[in-house]
């Protein structure tokens, strides 16, 4: 188990580094950062002064190593546009995105697991078909379209919920639905498949024979075993949420990490862009690693190195 863990950890680290290196170099392909900072109508002398000041005239690899050295110590530099240390900005926005991701996953699980259980209990019935359709529609809908539809109905027509900001818990309802709905099909199908397998096993037959109530059989005995792969799937999907949150946070004007990512790309705010990509990829890598390790821990057959 230890060797497996160490090897996985090493791979995770390499992935994070590669992502940061690729992002760093892609910035230079899309235009001159000095002109981006100088803005429209700047004179050549101003642009050159900016180039020198920020060190853009140094070779790209030197700039990257310089940045990486700082990042490892927690110094991500200063944001060009927000005029604050990037670390401060990121860690003040991270909780909002985490809250959004957590509520989205919670919504997805609350919707998908019962649906999956009920579909497994009545396989190939109308209910099963309905649940599957609901799930597939969720995966096919673009999240921004769904978000705008929610805004239109719940925000504008029925005035049930506030549309923008992150002041109260009501602000998170629509974003959580829009973001979480995408994950529902995968979780639902996995739950359904897992439950179907478990429900036909011997110990469940024994439980039924012993006269236990349906509820107890389903949830206390069957679901507990069927849910294991779902937990690791949820961990990975949580990582996807962080990426999908860019669109949702922008539409609902939630000041989280996703919105910061979009903003920093538009503003060519290089230090922030690089730091956000690094933080998000590290989180995603950690989640995937955790899911891997959890699975390996629960099922020793998966501990192949």
């Amino acid at each position: 188990m230890l060797a497996f863990t160490l090897k996985r950890l090493g791979v995770a680290l390499l992935v994070a580094l590669t992502v940061s290196l690729i992002t760093f170099s892609m910035i230079y392909v899309s235009g001159d950062p000095a002109i981006a900072i100088a803005g429209e109508g700047a004179r050549r002398e101003d642009v050159e002064a900016i180039r020198k000041f920020y060190g853009f005239d140094r070779p790209v690899i030197v700039q990257y190593v310089d940045w990486l050295a700082g990042a490892v110590q927690g110094d991500f530099g200063r944001s060009f546009t927000l005029r604050q240390p990037v670390a401060e900005v990121i860690f003040s926005r991270l909780p909002v995105t985490m809250a959004l991701g957590a509520s989205a996953i919670a919504f997805a699980l609350l919707l998908a697991i019962p649906l999956g259980v009920l579909a497994a209990v009545r396989p190939n019935s109308i209910f099963d078909r309905f649940a599957l359709t609901l799930a597939v529609v969720g995966q096919a809908m673009p999240s921004f379209w769904f978000a705008l539809t929610l805004i239109l109905w719940l925000g504008v027509y029925w005035r049930l919920l506030p549309i923008t900001g992150s002041d109260s818990w009501q602000n998170f309802v629509m974003p959580a639905i829009a973001l979480g709905y995408y994950v529902t099909p995968a979780v639902m199908r996995l739950t359904r498949a897992g439950m179907l397998e478990v429900l036909s096993s011997d110990y469940i037959r024994t439980a039924r024979a012993k006269g236990l109530r349906t509820g107890s059989v389903l949830f206390k005995h069957a679901l507990r075993n069927a849910i294991i792969p779902v937990v690791s799937l949820a961990a990975v999907q949580f990582g996807f949420m962080l990426g999908g949150s860019i669109v949702i946070e922008t539409i609902f004007q939630i000041n989280g990490l996703g919105y910061l990512a979009w903003e920093s790309i538009q503003r060519k705010d290089l230090p922030t862009m690089q730091a956000v990509v690094l933080v998000l990829s590290v989180i995603y890598v950690v989640l995937t690693l955790a899911a891997d390790l959890l699975n390996a821990f629960l099922d020793p057959r998966l501990r192949v190195t």
Binding site: G41, L82, L148, I151, V173
Partner: protein, 516 residues
């Protein structure tokens, strides 16, 4: 069991809906809260107009600060604001007499020391204000006495008053002296707490979120800006266009601009909202690579350039894509800018003539070339559509602004479809000079045009200046160095409870707005 589960679901959903309904946070905006909330998609993390070069900060600048003089957008005349009188002592010297009843938000009365401090600070290259290029003509300012100031220029600059009116906000003496120091040792001037003389004061700046202002009860009376009627103004950043409109519908936001035409047409029907189309100082144009530096030498030939001018149906583009307040621009400047003459040779929409000119120039079957653009893609595509009709084969290189500018500066663009807002300064030198004085954005490099512009701007006599500028603009039109296309118009959408008039300088006068 399943029934009870479904019931539990329904109950929870109903409960949430009820709670949501009862406790949904009320939007603090609109007439009942006497708060005007306006939103754009841009983030404005600091509130100093000298250190953040965005349109929103320019607007906030005019509400929280005052300039020496101001331009009346209806008549384009220079009017007094902090200064009551001014005199041109000679071509490089202006003297101002100042008002005596002005106070900063900090309480300190304004006098010559503040004006001298501000003008000397902004014209000093080391202080690196964001718009330095626009005030670089200032050499220094001197105090004559407590209410008189002398302004010295590096060279004759007849448009000085227009530039001062647009962006030279007066700060209190010593305002930047105690600026916090950044980790690299330089002072962070933009971080100083805002303090101005204007009709509104800033109460809160939330980077990435909002800037809040409250009416200044001690604002001087009988100034050009009058006495503001609305108590509070809040600027909010809302990135997504649809979300902004949704917030306008629910009343959480009271005022928007830059609404796309199709959306504006749709929300016109909503009784809660007023939609207006007003012109701006931004001009759309095609600039040709006249020198041939890009390697595609087609546009060194005047006939080819004139053919392109005849090929484009500018009226149709305006009518169908831009908006009713847009007009065709015959010169490389905005018709509302001082000395921008529209009385120049014009190129009527005539595709047959365009084809004839191309044939004469040796291209009966047209030719392929690269066209660069960065802004509204639909406008560029309309232009391309027209060019294709006369046999030309433009290849579109659509990119972000920074990449576009880089290509222009490197001389790589045979045809560049650009726009220019002139920082809302209503003087021809804010646009044409930028593009025809052999700077990095000048793709023409014509010696005669430069000579005429230099001669024009050495005159402080407005009539003489206009006459020489007319000659320069005529030459540019005759040679078709550019095909100026049209002026931009913006759609404004705001609450029906608001009395508001858009102005062409793109600086909304919220200080003049009021509730019905």
């Amino acid at each position: 069991m399943i029934r009870s589960l479904s019931r539990a679901w329904l109950a929870t959903a109903a409960l949430l809906a009820a709670v949501g309904l009862l406790t949904a946070a009320p939007a603090l905006a609109g007439k009942k809260d006497d708060t005007l909330v306006w939103a754009t998609d841009r983030d404005n993390p600091i509130a100093d107009p000298y250190y953040l070069n965005t349109r929103e900060l320019l607007v906030i600048g005019h509400h929280v600060w005052d300039t020496l003089v101001i331009i009346d957008p209806k008549t384009a005349e220079i009017r007094p604001l902090l200064a009551t009188k001014w005199t041109w002592v000679d071509a490089t010297t202006l003297e101002f007499e100042l008002r005596k009843d002005v106070k900063f938000h900090s309480g300190k009365p304004m006098d010559a020391d503040d004006v001298v401090y501000t003008l000397n600070h902004v014209s000093n290259k080391d202080n690196a204000i964001a718009n330095f290029a626009l005030l670089a003509w200032i050499k220094s300012a001197e105090k004559i006495d407590a209410n008189h100031v002398r302004l010295l220029m590096r060279n004759p600059f007849p448009a000085a008053l227009a530039y001062l009116a647009g962006i030279a906000f007066i700060m209190e003496k010593g305002h930047y002296d105690n600026a916090p120091v950044k980790p690299d040792g330089k002072k962070d001037f933009g971080a100083v707490k805002p303090n101005g003389t204007g009709p509104y004061k800033i109460t809160e700046v939330k980077p990435g979120d909002s800037i809040s202002m409250v009416r200044n009860p001690d604002y001087f009376k009988d100034g050009f800006k009058g006495s503001p009627a609305i108590s509070r103004i809040k600027f909010r950043t809302i990135k997504d266009g649809n979300t902004r409109v949704a917030e306008l519908m629910t009343g959480a936001v009271d005022w928007l601009w830059d609404v796309p035409k199709d959306q504006a047409e749709r929300i016109k029907a909503n009784p809660a909202v007023v939609v207006e189309n007003a012109k701006t100082l931004r001009v759309s144009y095609l600039a040709f690579d006249v020198t041939g530096a890009s390697g595609q030498k087609f546009f060194t030939d005047k006939r080819v350039r004139q053919a392109v001018a005849h090929a484009i149906d500018r009226e149709a583009i305006i009518k169908n894509l831009v908006g009713p307040a847009s007009v065709v621009a015959p010169s490389p400047c905005h018709p509302d800018q001082f000395a921008c003459s529209s009385d120049v040779p014009k190129y009527a929409y005539d595709p047959a003539k365009a084809k004839a000119l191309l044939k004469e120039a040796g291209y009966p079957d047209g030719f392929e070339f690269d066209l660069y653009a960065y802004r509204e893609r639909e406008y560029t595509e309309a232009v391309i559509g027209d060019l294709v009709k006369v046999g030309l084969k433009p290849k579109l290189n659509y990119m972000q602004y920074t990449a576009f500018v880089e290509n222009v500066h490197k001389g790589k663009t045979p045809v560049a479809h650009g726009t220019w807002g002139s920082n809302s300064i209503p003087d021809v030198s804010a646009m044409t000079s930028h593009f025809f004085l052999h700077g990095p954005d000048d793709l023409t490099r014509d010696a005669e045009v430069k000579r005429l512009i230099d001669e024009a701007d050495a005159n402080t006599d407005p009539a003489k200046r206009k006459a020489v500028w007319h000659k320069a603009l005529t030459r540019i039109a005759e040679e078709a160095f550019w095909v100026p296309l049209f002026t931009y118009a913006k759609y404004y959408a705001f609450s029906k409870d608001l009395v508001f008039t858009p102005t062409s300088d793109e600086v909304p006068q919220f200080f003049a707005a009021k509730w019905k």
